[in-house]
């Protein structure tokens, strides 16, 4: 399987190791992974802020870079959701492009969804040891039905125990530009999430979207918690976390 890997702008800039961890996992699943060099952003910031024009231009760029692959894999439910659910909306009035985006969407997957359901990965290289709690990011969960997949992959790791927090599926308050425009509200939502994390007594919180993880980590640190580890699911599964 030739997989085109879309790194996402956040992983590219903020946590490159998540990208390398994801590639390691894809290769462990037997994929031939390519990383198109010209890739940048999926266009979601513009799309969700009402700037359809920018989003449309970036969608076309994405199509040109990824259409040739058997599959496209994204280490983010949010960016994958943009591609799968929202690109078709941008081209609903152009039958030819709509067909191409729909076809591309059908081959595009969030990382854990791809590893579990498509590649059917049965064992992972990671050696994580300990108890962790999992935050379900909104777009992955509600646009792509990502809930069981990360848990199933973690269940293949003998030394990992998952302790569920309450309201693991409630939004952490990130919401892209929302986190800056409505900072107080966003902070309160992050704070609620931090409380639920603390209630589990886990020393590690894991999720599948770096935006949410930066938000959660930012609030934990501001609250004086410098010990709870905040990791992307790819880091845990591939053990490049340190």
């Amino acid at each position: 399987m030739r997989v085109g890997f879309f790194v996402t702008c956040l992983v590219d800039a903020m946590r490159p190791r998540i990208g390398f961890a994801a590639i390691k996992l894809l290769e462990a699943a037997g994929c031939e992974v390519a990383v198109p060099e010209q890739q940048t952003c999926c266009g979601q910031p513009g799309y969700n802020s009402g700037d359809r024009k920018s989003a449309t231009a970036l969608a076309l760029k994405f199509l040109a870079e990824f259409e040739s692959f058997d599959y496209v894999v994204v280490p983010s439910g949010s960016c994958a959701g943009m591609t799968v659910k929202h690109y078709p909306d941008l081209f609903k009035d152009d039958a030819a492009l709509l067909a191409r985006f729909t076809a591309l969407g059908a081959r595009t997957f969030e990382l854990t969804d791809f590893l579990h359901n498509v590649a059917q990965l049965k064992s992972v290289p990671g050696k994580f040891h300990g108890t962790l709690t999992y935050h379900d990011s909104c777009s992955g969960l509600r646009e792509l039905d990502v809930y069981q997949q990360p848990r199933a992959l973690l269940a293949t790791m003998p030394d990992v125990t998952i302790k569920e927090m309450v309201e693991s599926t409630t939004c952490c308050g990130f919401g892209g530009t929302f986190s800056v425009k409505y900072g107080e509200l966003s902070t309160r939502m992050a704070d609620n999430k931090c409380t639920h994390i603390a209630d589990t007594n886990c020393d590690t919180i894991v999720g599948g979207d770096l935006g949410c993880l930066l938000n959660i980590e930012g609030r934990l640190r501001r609250n004086g918690d410098h010990s709870t580890r905040v990791l992307h699911i790819a880091e845990v599964l591939a053990d490049t976390g340190e």
Binding site: D12, P45, S179, K181, G218
Partner: protein, 469 residues
């Protein structure tokens, strides 16, 4: 029409987040409404199909609304109901005032109606010399407190029991009660004569049934039934979009409405009000008026916001909204709060008057999952953001930022350079702690959170190095 205070949204958020009593009251939403819905919605074995059917019924009506409204008017008129058409809230107030004058109405007993809140009906009636008494317990409390509802189903959800006890003691001049049962009994004793003495009953309507010309209301306290049967004049007020073709259709919607709203399989009362009192009826109003309010609804027909008119006002979207859960309903500034309000307020009361509402959402999608009529609420919020962009209503700063970001993203070489420099710089600023305590232009983030610093090199730099070895 009710004044729109949504321009104050951000200021209100600050106030509401700091309101300890409110925060305590809102914490009950989770147990009462979220868990309540979850416990009974599973009783519907074919939930996806039922939601599809419900959305289908609503779409069928909206795609031919004029036909179904005229059908309803014909059937209602044939049963002695007078149907009035109101283009604006002011028209509703005028029509009700005229009916009151015509029948020499001095006092009116009212059951819950959000559409009447839209119109500011109570104030208009008081100005015309009619005393109005709210009889829904929550609405009664709010009338005493001179406050607006903060939730469309549980209007007084923002108050706790102690506040109600204080309010009753002050306004009723009776010894302060503390138990919920005692407080309810006190309200009941005061309200009972109001039902018996009222010249006019005013209600809303959850649905209008075209084939029988009936208005249907769902209530739990029984006040709705008293208000619609005891007084000699009954006026029901609702929006034009509330019509459904048949009784069969209503039964489908009723499987979803109480379960979604209050976590009840069915409400205590489901009242079908069909025509005025006939010669063989032992009770009922001698005059029955139904007022159908447009107030901008018809302008949504056939457009990209039409889906919003499917709404059956269950409130599930706000109960499940993490924004509403943290700030309550008053911050939204108008009649309808939560996700449905963030769409309806701009549409019915002006996007220019509510610029924050479509944006104050993470688009988390929790609302759309629970909406019984499958309104794509996040998509509609996004469409309103698009309208703001098209009409130049976004701040210059935000527009510039979005355009700059997109421009760089479309020029990969410059993008690579800019991000390379940017992350290096941020990594240095992050220092040993690897945290940024301040970010210029993003104080919204750093006022309450640190920003975890990047590692200093972009993925693309590292990947290229590794693959050019």
């Amino acid at each position: 029409m009710m004044q729109n205070n949504a321009l104050q949204f951000k200021r209100q958020v600050t106030i509401k987040l700091a309101d300890v009593k409110l925060q305590g009251a809102l914490s009950r939403l989770q147990s009462r409404f979220v868990e309540g819905r979850s416990a009974v919605i599973s009783e519907i074995a074919d939930l996806p199909q039922t939601r599809d059917a419900a959305a289908g019924i609503r779409n069928r009506v909206l795609n031919d609304l004029e036909h179904w409204l005229l059908h309803f008017e014909r059937e209602a008129t044939a049963r002695g109901t007078v149907v009035h058409w109101a283009e604006t809230g002011e028209d509703v107030n005028r029509i009700v005032t005229e009916i009151a004058a015509q029948h020499g109405v001095k006092t009116a007993a009212k059951s819950k109606s959000m559409v009447s809140e839209e119109c500011g009906l109570n104030d208009a009636l008081e100005r015309a010399g009619v005393t109005v008494m709210e009889t829904d317990l929550g609405e009664y409390i709010l009338q005493l407190a001179k406050e607006a509802p903060s939730h469309i189903v549980a209007p007084v959800v923002h108050k706790n029991k102690e506040e109600v006890a204080d309010l009753f003691a002050e306004k009723h001049g009776l010894p302060r009660k503390t138990g919920i049962a005692e407080l309810c009994r006190e309200a009941r004793e005061i309200l009972r004569p109001a039902f018996l003495n009222a010249d006019m009953g005013i209600s809303g309507a959850n649905f209008l049934i075209a084939e029988t010309g009936s208005a249907l209301i769902v209530t739990n306290e029984g006040n709705g039934r008293l208000v619609t049967t005891l007084p000699r004049v009954h006026v029901a007020i609702t929006g034009i979009e509330k019509v459904v073709p048949t009784l069969e259709d209503v039964s489908t919607l009723l499987r979803l409405l109480p379960r979604s709203a209050t976590g009840q399989s069915i409400t205590n009362y489901v009242s079908m009000l069909t025509g005025k009192k006939s010669v063989t009826d032992p009770d009922g109003p001698e005059h029955f008026h139904i007022i159908l309010l447009d107030n901008g609804r018809s302008s949504l027909l056939g457009g990209e916001m039409q889906d919003m008119l499917r709404c059956i006002r269950c409130g599930a979207c706000m109960n499940h909204c993490p924004v509403y859960q943290n700030i309550g309903g008053h911050a939204y500034g108008w009649v309808y709060p939560g996700p449905m309000g963030s769409i309806l307020t701009p549409l019915l009361s002006g996007l220019e008057n509510s610029p924050d509402l479509p944006n104050a959402s993470t688009l988390c999608g929790a609302c759309a999952v629970v909406c019984p009529v499958k309104i794509p609420l996040p998509d509609l919020l996004r469409k309103l953001r698009e309208k703001q962009m098209e009409r130049g209503m976004k701040s210059r700063q935000e527009t510039l930022l979005l355009k700059t970001w997109a421009w760089f993203a479309l020029h990969p070489k410059l993008y690579a350079f800019a991000t390379k420099v940017g992350v290096k710089f941020m990594a240095i600023l992050g220092g040993k702690e690897k945290l940024l305590h301040n970010l210029p232009g993003a104080s919204g983030w750093t006022n309450g959170r640190d920003f975890p610093a990047p590692t200093g090199k972009t993925f693309r730099e590292l990947y290229r190095k590794e693959h050019n070895k």
